[in-house]
């Protein structure tokens, strides 16, 4: 392994105050306008929750921050997404590098059909890291961060598909952590899990915010109120209200927000 590469990976772990920013962002899928001009700042080292009814654009908006919409047919975007002041849609931005900085956890656990070890080491390996001791150490520390190490340390060569759903999702988080991103995007990470697994993941998210900036899309309002510092309420492609979580859930400014969080629609 080249030393430079190893160092660049380590360097990315040095805590930087990543700030996410959207400037008048509009998104279309074909003729359908999914995001109708949203501007917002997301604070570093905090958990920001996106809530709103299905189809409100919260997932689409989340996926703008690591450009996962690029592959969607008919996707078109206007406006700016800035991370630490640089526009991530600029032509000279390396999208693979961006995604190493901005990790993502998906709705359904999606481990690769490979061993547990290979899953966690994947992101490092595709960067060309081959040093076995380094990989082993990073796999162990990542699995420890998601509290999965004790459960799987004897079966690292077992297929990741043999794990339970909750374990798989924690493995996917470990896989994301292994490349030491600065920002983690989570797209309803617990919607496919049972309550106990959900509780474990929530606890984990709470711990991770010391080191990472986390943005989480959730359908579960209790979850948003439990784990997030700030909450953004989306409705029909617009950002209706964005404030401290406490404020959103106890004393929202807008009537629509209140109607949604009190369960009157959605």
């Amino acid at each position: 392994m080249s030393k430079d590469k190893k160092e660049s990976v380590i360097e990315s772990s040095i805590k930087r105050k990543y700030k996410l920013q959207a400037n008048d962002v509009k998104v279309w899928y074909g003729d359908f306008m999914a995001i109708k001009g949203i501007s917002m700042d997301i604070k570093p080292n905090k958990v920001t929750a996106f809530i709103g009814p299905s189809g409100c654009g919260k997932s689409t908006f989340l996926r703008l921050f690591n450009r996962m919409n690029d592959y969607v047919d008919g996707f078109k975007m206007e406006g700016e997404i800035n991370i630490d002041g640089s526009n991530i849609n600029d032509k000279d931005i390396n999208v693979e590098l961006l995604r190493k900085q901005v990790g993502m956890v998906f709705q359904k656990p999606n481990p690769f059909p490979k061993s547990i070890f290979e899953n966690v080491a994947y992101g490092l390996k595709i960067q060309g890291l081959k040093d076995k001791a380094f990989l082993e150490e990073r796999v162990e520390s990542s699995l420890k961060q998601v509290a999965l190490w004790n459960e799987v340390k004897d079966d690292l060569n077992k297929s990741a598909l043999a794990l339970s759903g909750g374990q798989q999702q924690r493995l996917c988080i470990a896989r994301t952590l292994a490349v030491e991103p600065s920002i983690i995007l989570m797209d309803e990470p617990t919607s496919a899990l049972d309550p106990i697994s959900t509780a474990k993941i929530e606890e984990l998210i709470y711990k991770l915010k010391d080191k990472y900036t986390i943005v989480i899309v959730t359908h579960n309002m209790q979850q948003a109120s439990r784990i997030s510092d700030n909450t953004a309420f989306f409705y029909l492609g617009e950002l209706i209200e964005y404030d401290k979580t406490n404020k959103i859930f106890t004393n929202p400014e807008k009537e629509q927000t209140e109607n949604y969080i009190t369960g009157r629609f959605g």
Binding site: K100, N110, P113
Partner: protein
């Protein structure tokens, strides 16, 4: 009345199922009986070890090896050509190409499998061989290289189409995981998609091999009809299938030992394709278990 109708339908469906089974059993039986007759006159050890196959000459030798080497050599050339090309096509169509392009190209590729093999045979003899001869001096007009390459073209759609199906069937969530981790398209294709679709890809390759081994017309026309134990791709060879055609269409007397050789050759071919089909069946079953 209705009950009677149901009964008639049920019975006729059963009958058609039984007919296919009966035909298969019949083929295997005839092959085996004639082969047993043959082996009562020729020792099976000679059959397997004798390096010459000259049943139609006065000095008779009954070694299957020259025919087998002809079959394996042409099939190997075909596979060596078709696997990389077919896999590249399938990866391109599944992971790179725009959907509309994929929808147009895939049926066109599958047309390759619909070209009559006799056309391929003449294409090999009249176009590919002269072309190859301009690079390879001393190459015979009948040779396994040309026949193998053209057979490779013929089996490309088996590999590209079935592998593409397998790649396409990999859940999109894995693609998202790969890209989300910062994979390039190439890394996504080779580190995630191909391994995830490996069973389907292997099955496609095995089917292509068994198609190549069983192919008759191309090799009968372009590879020559000279049984020869060799792995030189520039000289004429004869495959098992080409030999069977040669004898069946020739003026060999029925029930003679010469005639029975085609059953011995046939059963050898059958054993090979049967093994390959069994392997692919096993792999497919394992694959199904994994995803259910």
């Amino acid at each position: 009345m209705r009950k009677l109708k149901e009964l008639v339908i049920e019975r006729s469906l059963l009958l058609s199922a039984l007919i296919t089974i009966a035909v298969t059993v019949g083929i295997v039986l005839v092959l085996s009986i004639e082969a047993v007759n043959f082996f009562s006159e020729v020792s099976i050890i000679d059959f397997i070890t004798d390096p010459e196959w000259t049943p139609l000459f006065s000095d008779k030798h009954f070694g299957i090896l020259p025919l087998l080497s002809g079959t394996l050599l042409t099939s190997f050339i075909a596979i060596a050509f078709a696997v990389p090309v077919g896999l590249s096509i399938s990866i391109y169509l599944s992971e790179y190409a725009p959907k509309s392009f994929r929808r147009t190209i895939k049926p066109l590729l599958e047309l390759l499998a619909a070209v009559p093999t006799v056309v391929y045979g003449f294409f090999a003899l009249m176009v590919v061989t002269p072309f190859l001869q301009s690079f390879i001096p001393g190459m015979s007009s009948f040779n396994s290289l040309s026949a193998g390459l053209v057979m490779g073209i013929m089996i490309i759609p088996y590999i590209s189409s079935l592998s593409e199906d397998a790649l396409h069937a990999v859940p999109n969530s894995l693609r998202e995981a790969a890209y989300g981790m910062g994979s390039t398209r190439l890394q996504n294709s080779f580190r995630v998609m191909v391994p995830a679709a490996s069973s389907g890809i292997i099955v496609s390759i095995i089917l292509a091999i068994s198609r190549a081994i069983g192919e008759t017309m191309i090799v009968a026309i372009a590879a020559g009809q000279q049984p020869r134990l060799t792995f030189d791709p520039t000289v004429p060879v004869e495959t098992i299938t080409a030999y069977i055609v040669q004898v069946s269409l020739g003026d060999v007397q029925h029930d003679s030992l010469e005639y029975k050789t085609i059953f011995a050759a046939g059963i050898t071919l059958f054993v090979f394709t049967f093994l390959l089909n069994t392997i692919s069946y096993r792999i497919r079953k394992k694959f199904q278990e994994k995803y259910e």
